[in-house]
């Protein structure tokens, strides 16, 4: 078997068992054996996330522990590998992310951040309970193409101080062709059209998909 393939297999197995130490060990051994950091990120970590997407779309039942570990391990590995890259990697795009005003749930956002970092997307974390004004101001300040809003509760997803207001501000400031909005969190799982109701450009059901959706949006604004 191609050595890279057996590394991938071992890494995937560790991920499926949410075995962080196992996954890191696979990576470290691979680097020691001469696999380049670039290959680790682009040929092992990212494909592993992709295959997570596949298994999730086939089997709707996502498992949270597994999600966290995939995202966390991916971030850890990527952050460890980037300094070792031969050339400074080009940033795929910039995103600001936060939890909607009135909402203090931070965990969903955490997974999404992990997945974005693993895809070389630069993320600024605005924290929780973020006002719509701050979302827009920070996006402008960071030159971000995407505002990502997490909301775990129905009223913070639908409410007038959430995504709806961010959209209004973008329009008022003539930014809404330059900055896209993506939303996510529990309420969007229950109503798949909710993202349209709150005037977002897209939503994603999990962190792994979020990475892909956001990459797509970044491409659209460029």
């Amino acid at each position: 078997m191609d050595p890279l393939q057996s590394i991938m297999k071992a890494y995937n197995e560790a991920l499926f068992d949410t075995d962080r130490d196992g996954a890191l060990k696979v990576v470290h051994e691979a680097v020691a054996a001469g696999v380049t950091p670039e290959d680790i990120v682009f040929k092992v970590v990212l494909p592993a996330m992709e295959s997570m997407i596949k298994s999730i779309s086939e089997d709707f039942d996502a498992n949270l522990a597994q999600h966290f570990m995939t995202a966390q391990i991916a971030t850890e590995v990527t952050e460890e590998m980037i300094p070792k890259f031969r050339a400074v990697p080009s940033v795929a795009g910039r995103v600001v992310i936060g939890t909607a005003q009135g909402d203090m749930h931070s965990l969903g956002k955490r997974i999404v951040i992990g997945c974005l970092k693993a895809r070389m997307i630069e993320v600024t974390d605005l924290g929780v309970n973020v006002s719509p004004e701050r979302f827009v101001d920070e996006a402008v300040a960071c030159n971000a193409g995407v505002i990502a809003i997490s909301a775990m509760m129905v009223h913070t997803a639908r409410g007038e101080n959430g995504c709806l207001r961010v959209r209004q501000l973008l329009k008022e400031r003539g930014l809404d062709t330059r900055i896209k909005i993506v939303v996510g969190g529990a309420p969007y799982h229950f109503a798949h059209d909710l993202y349209k109701v709150v005037q977002a450009d897209a939503w994603a059901e999990d962190g792994v998909t979020a990475g892909r959706v956001i990459e797509d949006l970044i491409r659209r604004v460029r």
Binding site: G102, L107, V154
Partner: protein
């Protein structure tokens, strides 16, 4: 999900009650001063309403009744109801009226069954979570959607109770006391539970290190460290109540409340409430099911099934209707219990205590008295302490409310608890996140 929620009022059986620490006539019951002979205690829960009537002269319970909170049509959790109420004043009044009418119906039903006549009732005490109380009294409910108010005191005293007097058939001089919650996210139901379990034993009685967990959709946790009462709430979702679970149902007739391993590995024995035909899993059955599969290696620590078990999940029972457990059901339980584990950790941390400092762990709420302690410990639902330290209660909030009724007042009895209470807001607690993730795994609770 199967709909097994439309249940009429059901009488409370002796087993439903938590034995009261002191009964008998109220400390200073004075027939002349206190007026009418009877009283009623009400636990206004998000899912269920429990009411008992008392003879205040003898300090004896006359009857008790339990039914679903009809506000559920506006959503099963408090936020959905608060959001609905904030949409219009008319809607808010409708939601309030639903709870009010339910209490009235229950009181009349009890009267028709020979318990206290509504006109004989001299006092009604009501405990509940802050959202339920504020929606009932139509006071300050809109504040509860704003995080700034969650740790603050929320006034839930109604402006005027005359309408209730009329609707409930009470005499004009009957007192209706809504026991004030502690704050936005900690209701008077928690205070009542702490009272009923005698968590803060009188001084001298070595009972430091006592933990109280009231399991529900929004579980509340209290930790007594000998001087302070640390309290919090951890919204884990409705899995403990059997809601949102493929074959879940509330603890009622037909619910599997206990699962034990049978003769062969994939064979299980079931105990069903009411001894009826099994229909679904209530919270304690779900805990047993998960713990059994974990022990058999069919479920892994991270919540995945062993290879070969597909998306249809695992059939615990095959019959006219299979009882299956799916990965998403296990996941719901994992999330819910992770919130509890992280909550317990944060309270211990604030009190500067360790698990070994706990002398008592009091479990109340959704699981009733059916919880298998060993199983609950093995999946990390409750702290992993010696089983001798664990006390199982059914509904503790009603019992606490009954104590208040016997005492004849709420304010004075609860004053020491209120003044020793410190609320911990888990949102924004930097320790919470990592502990939540750690506690997602099906393993003993991680509190260090």
């Amino acid at each position: 999900m199967r709909n097994r929620y439309a249940q009429p009022w059901r009488p409370l059986s002796p087993d439903d009650y938590t034995p009261l620490i002191h009964t008998g006539p109220g400390p200073a019951y004075d027939a002349l001063q206190r007026g009418r002979a009877c009283g009623a205690a009400v636990d206004l829960g998000t899912s269920q309403i429990r009411i008992s009537t008392w003879d205040r002269r003898t300090g004896e319970r006359l009857a008790g009744i339990c039914g679903m909170n009809p506000q559920a049509v506006f959503g099963t959790d408090i936020l959905m109801r608060l959001t609905a109420a904030c949409r219009s004043e008319e809607r808010a009044r409708e939601i309030s009226r639903m709870a009010g009418n339910a209490i009235g119906d229950a009181l009349r039903l009890l009267a028709s069954r020979g318990s206290a006549g509504t006109g004989d009732i001299g006092q009604i005490m009501i405990v509940g979570n802050t959202a339920m109380l504020s929606l009932l009294s139509l006071k300050n409910y809109s504040l509860l959607l704003q995080p700034e108010y969650w740790s603050r005191e929320i006034d839930c005293r109604p402006e005027d109770t005359r309408q209730w007097h009329t609707d409930w058939g009470l005499a004009n001089d009957a007192a209706i006391d809504i026991i004030q919650p502690l704050g936005g996210f900690v209701g008077s139901d928690l205070l009542a539970g702490v009272l009923a379990t005698n968590l803060t034993c009188p001084a001298g009685d070595a009972a430091e290190g006592a933990l109280f967990i009231d399991f529900g959709s929004n579980s509340e946790i209290a930790l007594w460290d000998g001087a302070k009462l640390w309290v919090t709430s951890a919204a884990g979702g409705p899995a403990f109540e059997g809601r949102g679970i493929t074959c879940g149902m509330p603890a009622g007739p037909g619910a599997i409340y206990r699962i034990t391993p049978g003769h062969s590995p994939h064979d299980f024995a079931f105990d069903v409430i009411g001894g009826e035909e099994l229909q679904g899993l209530c919270g304690s059955g779900l805990v047993d099911g998960i713990a059994c599969l974990l022990k058999l290696g069919i479920l892994k620590k991270n919540g995945n099934f062993s290879p070969g078990i597909g998306k249809d999940g695992f059939s615990l029972f095959r019959g006219r209707e299979d009882i299956v457990l799916k990965k998403k059901d296990v996941d719901s339980m994992q999330r819910a219990k992770a919130a509890i584990g992280a909550g317990v950790f944060c309270l211990l941390e604030n009190a500067g205590m360790r698990l070994r400092d706990l002398r008592r762990v009091c479990i109340a709420g959704a699981f009733g008295k059916h919880l298998n302690i060993a199983n609950a410990c093995s999946i990390g639902l409750i702290p992993d302490v010696s089983p001798a330290k664990i006390e199982l209660y059914g509904n503790a909030a009603l019992a606490g409310c009954e104590l208040l009724l016997i005492a004849g007042e709420g304010a004075e009895t609860l004053a020491p608890l209120r003044s020793s209470a410190h609320m911990i807001n888990l949102s924004g607690d930097s320790l919470f996140e990592d502990k939540f993730i750690q506690n997602l795994y099906l393993q003993p609770m991680q509190t260090a």
